[in-house]
Amino acid sequence: MSADTLPRIEAPARRTGGPGAKPKAWGQIASQVFLIVASVLWLLPIAFALYVAIRPYSDTRKYGYVSMPHHITFQNFRDAWTQSDMLHFFWNSVLITVPAVIIVLCLASGVAFVLTRVNVKVNVALLILFTAGNLLPQQVIITPLYRIYLKITLPHFLSSSGLMYNSIFGLVVINVAFQLGFCVFVLSNYMKSIPGEMYEAALVDGASLWTRFWRLTVPLCRPALAALATLLTTWIYNDFFWAITLMSSGNKRPVTSALANLQGQFVSNQNLIAAAAMIAAVPTLVVYILLQKQFIAGLSLGSSKG
């Protein structure tokens, strides 16, 4: 929006010219220089890790890591992938992230609908309850949560350990419970912007509450749901804390927290660690390239309260 309006604002200012024009030009140059320097600094760590990853170990040992490339290879990626069983960890991430995102969005849109469109007496209090829950630092709840997870038994098909602790199911549950608050907050703000006339019209047609929710509200919330899905996928995929604390064994962990183990496994070969790290970044980079707009829209929806 401001991208179209800003040049229009600046145009007359420039036309007035005179002494005012010069500082503006200098300001432009200074901004450009500052942003270019920042961009280079921001890319440098990632570029360097990528550079380490595409060079063979023999090369870097001989010439050092900060040196001209003598050979370029993708062998590190192949080795990191096969030697660390990354496919397995990626599959764990999928098993946690996909159900968690779907369940959070279903539950949150239900709550948001009830809290915005049905006159429940305590709806503001409930909205506060959900929102505040998401703002707590995870460490505030981890101690009892850890004990609870050790106490709850699960049927064998949900958890091979027989406990909520150390199970994929357990991680889905905590990710769902913890992200609920944020989604409820965002979706209820979004649903408030749906004009009331639409619901009155639906009522006239005799639409039941469920129909008003599922056939009217959810389709209208599609942009918000898409943005939230992108955001949540990234967040849950990137989660490190829950997986480290609520899972004991390495082989059930999702890929993000398994990286810590890989670091130990490849401790003598930094090139392989770099390659594994780059592989683990691929899903988020795909989101970054294809769905950046959605991701940013999700963040903005959460921060801008109408």
Binding site: S39, F48, V114, V176, A177, F241, L299, S304
Partner: protein, 335 residues
Amino acid sequence: MSSASQVHDPAAAEARTEVPARRRRRMRKMTPRDRIVVAVLLGIPLLLDLAFVWFPAIGTVLLSFTKWNGVGSLHTKSCVPNMPSILNNGCVYGIQNYHQAATIYPEFWPAVRHNLIWLAVFVVIATPLGMLFAVLIDRGIRGSRMYQSILFLPVMLSLALVGIIWEFVYSQNYGLINTVIGRNGNDNAIDWLGNPHLNLWAVLLEATWRQAGYVMVLYLAGLKAVDPSLREAALVDGANAWQTFWKIVFPVMRPINIVIMVVTVIESLRAFDLVYITNKGINGLELLSVLVTTNIVGETQRVGFGSALGVVLLVISLVPISIFLYQTFRREEQS
């Protein structure tokens, strides 16, 4: 709408006088099926939120007054002083956990100090830097979209990954910095992540690298929502860019400023992943969040003590949370 409903209503003629009452009732009274739908839509998530977020949060507070190693059961008897800890288990310990944390737990005050430094760096450097990025990009200079994409890139990466990526930059013998400044020998290498006087600052640079992009994206959204006519008016009145921002734009963005304040404080309390992936949060990288974790998942479980540390985090985090909730929901309570 009322006329339309009368047309549809078969008993319209006799119901006409009753219409206002009916409409009111329609909002309140739902069919039994509607009630079940409400109960399910609200009930399941509420139960989940209460059971796995709020119940543990209250549990942390209660457990912080006990002494418990996680084995055996909790009871309401007070702990007996001067008894071996094996016999004093699951008992009520009063404020002893807090007292011990503040007096004899060597990691506590360093952790508090590190958390405060973390917060200070976020407040003084990361957040203003992100705001500056946003303001510059929002002015629509050439290449702004590209700058935004680049500065935003670290936000996508998990903190664990950020920690690993930066290890190549900081490494003693092969790292980017030491090689460039020529300090990668065995005798003169700078141990950025190992030296307890340096490593907190090194990790804070990593954290700032990511946080600034996050703040930038949030702030950009806020800036785009500012009514452009406000700025035009300021320009007509002869305000320069600096004045326009501080006198016009910044006050209008009060809600987003509060969101960013909350994000800044909460993220610095939550800080965990980076130090954990670097060295598991020891030797200069102690943080409250790490201490909570090591006291419950370590070999010696001190559930009560770990909870007391968690309560410290809870109390601090309640300040920004309350401000945010007050600012956000004040209007709704009034209406």
